[in-house]
């Protein structure tokens, strides 16, 4: 187990280098550069621009720029934004907790409501409540998140007046409630369906019959024997879903004006601040990698037939 974890962590290094390089190269390939963006629409002396580029090391070849960037990264230096002159670590420190909070909020919502609905429907396959859930989740899956976002805004803010249409304070939990539900709704639909199918299938398993024959109370049969087996695929899905939620947060944050990672990355893209984009994207990659490692480990805990060496 320890060796497996070590190997997985070591495997993350090339993945991390590769993904940062890819994002870095893509930023490099985009037309325009931060120096140009800095000047706005005014005409500047090309010699001044050139001097500024040289000063920032933007005239170096791609690989050299990347090496410079990565060396800084290894020393914990994310670089500095060219436009604002702010250290990128500061931008990240400001934006990341907001997005993490939103993601975790959405994740909790997904887990509790999604698994809950899945259990309720799965225990009675083909019943009215089962068909109801399948219908509801189908709607959620087919609806793009921005449509759902504007719909919720319209309903809860403009019609019912329960909340403000956009988030006023990105640190407040109450304000994040609506965006979290919008963000989590797609995952929720998948989790509910997966749980439902898994439970309905395991309900017919031989060991369930054994559990009944042992004279166990129904609570225990469902809670211990059925759930332990049914949750294995759900947990796998949830792990990879943390990364998807963080990516989805970018759209949701835009709709509800949350000052999170999505907001920061959008700004940076607009101003061609390569280092900011790479920094934030790399962190999301890291979250994704760690979440999937965690899931693989959890998998072995839930299902003893899986062993890592």
């Amino acid at each position: 187990m320890g060796r497996y974890v070590a190997r997985r962590l070591l495997q993350m290094i090339p993945v991390f280098i590769g993904s940062t390089f890819l994002i870095f190269a893509m930023m490099y390939a985009l037309p325009g550069d931060p120096v140009r963006a800095l000047m706005g629409d005014q005409a500047f002396d090309p010699a001044v621009l050139e001097a500024k580029r040289h000063e920032l090391g933007l005239d170096l070849p791609l690989w050299q720029q990347y090496v410079n960037y990565f060396t800084g990264l290894l020393q914990g230096d994310f670089g500095t934004e060219i436009g604002s002159g702010r250290p990128i670590s500061e931008i990240i420190a400001h934006a990341f907790p907001v997005s993490v909070r939103l993601t975790l909020f959405a994740f909790t919502f997904t887990v509790i409501v999604g698994i809950g609905l899945g259990i309720v429907a799965g225990l009675r396959p083909e019943s009215v409540r089962d068909r109801g859930l399948l219908g509801l989740t189908l709607v959620l899956i087919s609806m793009p998140s921005f449509v759902l976002g504007y719909l919720m805004q319209y309903l809860f803010a403009f019609q019912l007046g329960l909340t403000t249409p956009t988030v006023q304070d990105s640190e407040s939990f109450g304000d994040l409630f609506l965006p979290a539900i919008v963000l989590g709704s797609l995952s929720l639909a998948y989790v509910a369906r997966l749980t439902r199918t898994s439970i309905a299938e395991n309900l017919r398993a031989d060991y369930m019959r054994t559990a009944v024959a042992k004279g166990l109370p129904r609570r225990r049969i469902v809670g211990v024997h059925l759930m332990r087996n049914s949750l294995v695929p759900v947990v796998t899905f949830l792990g990879t879903d943390i990364g998807n939620l963080m990516a989805g947060a970018i759209v949701t944050e835009g709709i509800f004006n949350v000052q999170g990672v999505g907001d920061a990355i959008y700004e940076a893209l607009f101003r061609r601040e390569g280092a900011t984009v790479v920094g934030i994207a790399s962190l999301i990659v890291l979250v994704y990698l760690l979440a999937s490692l965690l899931v693989d480990l959890l998998y072995a805990v839930l299902d003893p037939r899986i062993r890592y060496a």
Binding site: R209, V212, L216, R228, P304
Partner: protein
């Protein structure tokens, strides 16, 4: 001194003693399944009984209703689609079909336990065997986790699993087939039930292990003086351990007899067919006998005797009248105790 020793040898009185007579009595049990293709009549008026210390073998091919009867006794039929329109299942004189769900649950595992055919799929793959064994004590006797684990180790020792203490935390997939079936047996025996139903306990095992598992089961049955219902289609397994045999066909019992009499003189053409289709070394090279045709479709059971389309002795009466379970007698009319045959021509079959 001697008196104390002799009383110690007698099996201790088990459970409540107010009921005299058989431990379990199934009376005119009917089970049907309502499916999209119609009503499947799986069990059509089964009667049998088991006493403490007795082994009843229920014999029959797939679809004869032997397992469904057992599941009805155990109370683990899926209802719906299953339904019990008629019949009684008396355990110590009380009809279990009229008990509340909670009363039946309390009996399951504690008084009546079941051993299933495929131990790998019948044990929960993600829980350790110690946990699954200990669960019996935790749920029915309220023992703590630690006490239950100690009891689980004791049980594993009892069914002769080597290094029980070391293996108590292992999972079902880490055991061999024979060992897994021993764990199933241990689980059924945990609370020393009055009655055990073993549904083809050795079908999934290889022949050498089959014998070991059957011996173990017979030994433990004698030790605890339990009633045992052994469901099987293996005539070889039955001969060694059973006291009585009930042969089932299309949801009815077609013949009952003490085990050795059935082998010597079957009183039903179906039983005769089964016995004739056992491969024998002294008939090496000859063609093996097989009963013609297929078991009937349970949604459309033939009128009269269900076996008539496959029966070599069938006459007109077999196609119209359902035969009752006749008391079988010697040619001079003396009753053969415990023998019955549901065949219009039982006399010709046994004496002819």
């Amino acid at each position: 001194m001697t008196i104390i020793e002799t009383t110690a040898d007698v099996p201790a009185p088990r459970g409540d003693r107010q009921h005299e007579g058989p431990l379990l009595e199934v009376r005119d049990l009917h089970v049907e399944f309502h499916t999209r293709d119609g009503v499947t009549k799986a069990v059509n008026g089964v009667n049998y009984s088991v006493s403490a210390g007795e082994t009843l073998a229920v014999l029959g091919e797939s679809g004869s209703g032997k397992s469904v009867t057992a599941q009805a006794v155990m109370g683990i039929l899926d209802m719906p689609p299953g339904r019990i329109p008629k019949g009684e299942i008396l355990f110590r004189g009380q009809d279990m079909l009229r008990m509340s769900a909670e009363e039946r649950r309390a009996l399951r595992g504690r008084k009546i336990a079941m051993i299933f055919q495929d131990a790998l799929s019948s044990l929960n793959p993600v829980l350790s065997v110690g946990y699954q064994l200990g669960e019996m004590f935790r749920v029915h006797e309220g023992l703590s986790k630690k006490e239950a684990k100690a009891k689980a180790i004791e049980l594993m020792d009892k069914v002769k699993i080597p290094a029980a203490a070391a293996r108590v935390g292992d999972y079902p997939h880490q055991f061999s087939g024979g060992m897994r079936q021993r764990i199933m047996i241990a689980m059924a025996l945990a609370l020393e039930p009055d009655l055990i139903i073993a549904d083809e306990p050795t079908t999934a095992l290889d022949v050498t292990v089959q014998a070991q598992v059957m011996d173990l089961l017979a030994e433990l049955q004698a030790e605890y003086n339990m009633g045992l219902i052994l469901i099987t289609h293996d005539l070889g397994v039955v001969a060694d351990v059973a006291d009585r045999i009930a042969v089932m066909y299309a949801g009815r019992i077609v013949e009952t007899a003490p085990v050795h009499e059935l082998y010597q003189r079957p009183a039903h053409p179906y039983t005769r067919g089964l016995l004739d289709s056992i491969p024998r070394l002294d008939q090496k090279g000859e063609e093996l006998y097989a009963i013609k045709g297929l078991p009937p479709n349970l949604t459309r059971i033939p009128t009269g005797c269900a076996f008539n389309p496959r029966c070599p002795k069938a006459g007109d009466v077999c196609r119209t009248d359902v035969p009752a379970l006749h008391q079988v007698t010697e040619q001079d009319g003396t009753e053969l105790p415990g023998r019955g045959s549901a065949c219009h021509f039982w006399k010709e079959t046994i004496h002819g």
